[in-house]
């Protein structure tokens, strides 16, 4: 049986807003297998982004365990986590989060800097990725000189820069019009196929869920519909 790349065990997350405790996740059990394309769906405030942050090791749970490649992430130090994020996980955000003072090319090269990859190789890889997303002739442009769709495509290229095992995307089309959104999703799926990683997308848009192989619905911090049966392997569906 294939090992899950990421496994969540009874995950709870409580945010403290002033003196009030707000539970965002209330006991999530989840397994994601290598190579799959999974969508997490839910209304806003359902806890789906919080869940995604847990999967991406950007945040730690209040309770429960997260296993990445069978290793308990709670045991990792802060810098070990950063290293893992850099090496194994790519991120795509709703707000793109590109560095405004760097060109498209430089933005894509950033994650590779922290992996100690030399400049020539970084450039080669970044140029390759940018030409894949159709921005070959805009690599020197700053984010402010690009359209929203183009920015998100740069962000996708950045997420795939280090050939991560897992790419997570938080409402990747949330800030885009429908045609740019479609374009972005097509590129995401194309990359997912080419690079053979695992892709997890959070969205509230049912159109997007159509691209994926598996959908988790989340409501009030719980998974309400889960058709993953024990022993089933997603990518064989």
């Amino acid at each position: 049986m294939e090992e899950a790349i990421i496994r969540l065990q009874n995950i709870h997350k409580v945010y403290q807003l002033g003196k009030v405790n707000v539970p965002a996740l209330r006991g999530i059990d989840l397994e994601i297998f290598p190579g799959s394309f999974v969508t997490i769906m839910g209304a806003s405030g359902s806890g789906k982004s919080t869940l995604l942050n847990m999967i991406g090791c950007l945040d730690s749970p209040s309770q429960g365990k997260i296993f990445l490649d069978n290793e308990d992430t709670a045991l990792f130090s802060e810098s070990k986590l950063a290293e893992i994020r850099g090496k194994k996980i790519g991120f795509i955000f709703q707000q793109f989060n590109l560095l405004q003072n760097l060109s498209a090319l430089e933005n894509v090269m950033i994650p590779m800097i922290f992996q100690g990859i030399n400049e020539d190789k970084r450039k080669e890889r970044a140029e390759h990725l940018l030409s894949q997303i159709g921005l070959k002739d805009r690599i020197t442009h700053l984010p402010s000189e690009l359209s929203g769709g183009e920015r998100q495509r740069v962000a996708i290229a950045r997420a795939f820069a280090n050939q991560p095992e897992l790419v997570i995307a938080d409402e990747p089309t949330g800030n885009l019009d429908s045609s740019s959104g479609k374009n972005v999703m097509e590129i995401l799926t194309k990359f997912h196929k080419q690079e053979k990683g695992t892709l997890v997308v959070v969205t509230h848009d049912p159109m997007i869920a159509k691209y994926s192989e598996k959908v988790f619905n989340i409501k009030d911090g719980r998974i309400v519909y889960n058709d993953v049966q024990k022993g089933e392997i997603l990518w064989q569906h």
């Binding site: 945040d59 802060e78 810098s79 991120f91 989060n97 800097i113 922290f114 992996q115 100690g116 950045r158």
Partner: protein
């Protein structure tokens, strides 16, 4: 090392954005460092100039002045050393020659121009040798005046065109107190503007034209025998003068000062030390206030970029990497600010020095040891780094999600 270069590149790119803020921060450092450099280099320059003039006195010469060092006003007042005092000094063991000197500001007329000059009477017969061999006097033109003749030697600046409006040549005539004098010699520079703008003549002639005939002196330059301890002789002179005054005149306060160049150096050094200490204190406050400003703007700058820090952490930057990048940025700001302050400070100090060469009143050499420059530079880099470090560390410690949530 390679990663450090990468961080430097990133830091430079970051600095290129937010230029206005960065330049304002840099300006804050420039002003602080500029203040420190100017204050220290000018006060140091004043000290050096005074010390240099004192050194020109020569080690084997003792100056005896009327009036006590304890009450400085009496040094300026009209007190004189009496003829008797001078004789007592002459009799002290190991004293070789005593040169009584008189001086006074007088109007000198050359052609149709009148100028106030510092007229100094020196007995040429005994004096020339001491002045030439121990004080470094030399003539650039002409000859030394004969004893008892109405002849003048003038300081090199007096001879220059911008003093009387016309360059003075030996052999020309000038009038002082209605008496006509022949200018026979022009001195080489003596190293101090006061000396270079003075006019020298034989002591007896000085006494004649000023009516000062009691044989006293406003100062006495004492040349001692070779190989004798200067301080010992100075002490002997002091004791001899003291004793005579107490015994014969019933005075119990010493109303004279015996100075060696070392002793004067100590006095001046002490005063200048206090001035410099307070200058440094002010400068420290200035740079501290500047530092607070830098910290403030660094704090805001880093806060604004919390989201960027979150992103860097999400794509694999460790806390140390984030802090390093911000530290490099802050250090560069400190470095540029420091350099700016140093350059500006040196320009101002040099300008004042240049001004002093044109207007003797302000004569001074700017003091700028390499140590001061290096120190200022390191200090401003340090201030920059410190003020960047704390906010960056705080931001770097946030979880990536928290940092990413913050609004720009």
């Amino acid at each position: 090392m390679a990663t450090l270069i990468e961080y430097f590149k990133l830091a430079f790119k970051n600095l290129k954005t937010r230029q206005l803020r960065n330049w304002l921060t840099i300006l804050g450092i420039v002003v602080g460092v500029f203040l420190v450099i100017t204050l220290i280099s000018l006060s140091g320059g004043i000290r050096d100039t005074i010390m240099k003039q004192l050194k020109s006195l020569g080690g084997d010469v003792i100056i005896v002045l009327p009036g006590s060092m304890d009450s400085p006003m009496s040094l300026v007042g009209g007190e004189q050393l009496s003829k008797e005092d001078l004789n007592i000094i002459k009799k002290v063991k190991s004293v070789d020659v005593v040169l009584p000197m008189l001086y006074s500001s007088k109007i000198m007329r050359y052609k149709n121009e009148q100028k106030i000059v510092f007229l100094t009477g020196i007995p040429w017969n005994e004096g020339i040798e001491i002045l030439t061999s121990f004080q470094g006097w030399s003539l650039s033109q002409g000859k030394w005046p004969g004893s008892g003749k109405r002849e003048l030697v003038i300081g090199n600046l007096v001879a220059k065109e911008d003093f009387f409006g016309k360059e003075i040549k030996p052999g020309e005539e000038a009038t002082i107190n209605g008496k006509t004098f022949k200018i026979v010699g022009i001195l080489d520079s003596l190293g101090s503007k006061t000396d270079d703008t003075a006019v020298y003549l034989d002591l007896t002639i000085f006494q004649q034209i000023t009516g000062d005939r009691d044989g006293g002196a406003q100062a006495a330059m004492v040349k001692i025998e070779e190989g004798v301890n200067v301080d010992k002789v100075a002490k002997d002179i002091e004791e001899a003068l003291d004793e005579v005054r107490k015994r014969r005149r019933g005075e119990d306060v010493s109303s004279f000062s015996v100075l060696t160049s070392d002793k004067m150096g100590n006095i001046v050094g002490g005063i200048m030390g206090i001035i410099q200490a307070s200058v440094i204190a002010f400068a420290t406050i200035a740079i501290f206030v500047g530092g607070l400003g830098i910290m403030n703007s660094m704090f805001t700058a880093v806060r604004e970029r919390t989201r960027e820090i979150g992103l860097l952490k999400a794509v694999g930057a460790k806390n140390n990497a984030v802090i390093s990048i911000f530290l490099i940025e802050a250090g560069i700001i400190g470095f540029i600010g420091g350099m700016g302050g140093i350059v500006l400070g040196l320009i101002v100090a040099k300008t004042i020095e240049l001004y002093g060469q044109i207007y003797p009143m302000f004569y001074l050499e700017a003091y700028m040891p390499v140590g001061l420059i290096i120190f200022s530079l390191l200090f401003s880099i340090l201030i920059g780094c410190l003020s960047g470090y704390f906010p960056a560390r705080r931001a770097a410690k946030l979880k990536p999600t928290e940092a990413l949530r913050s609004h720009e």
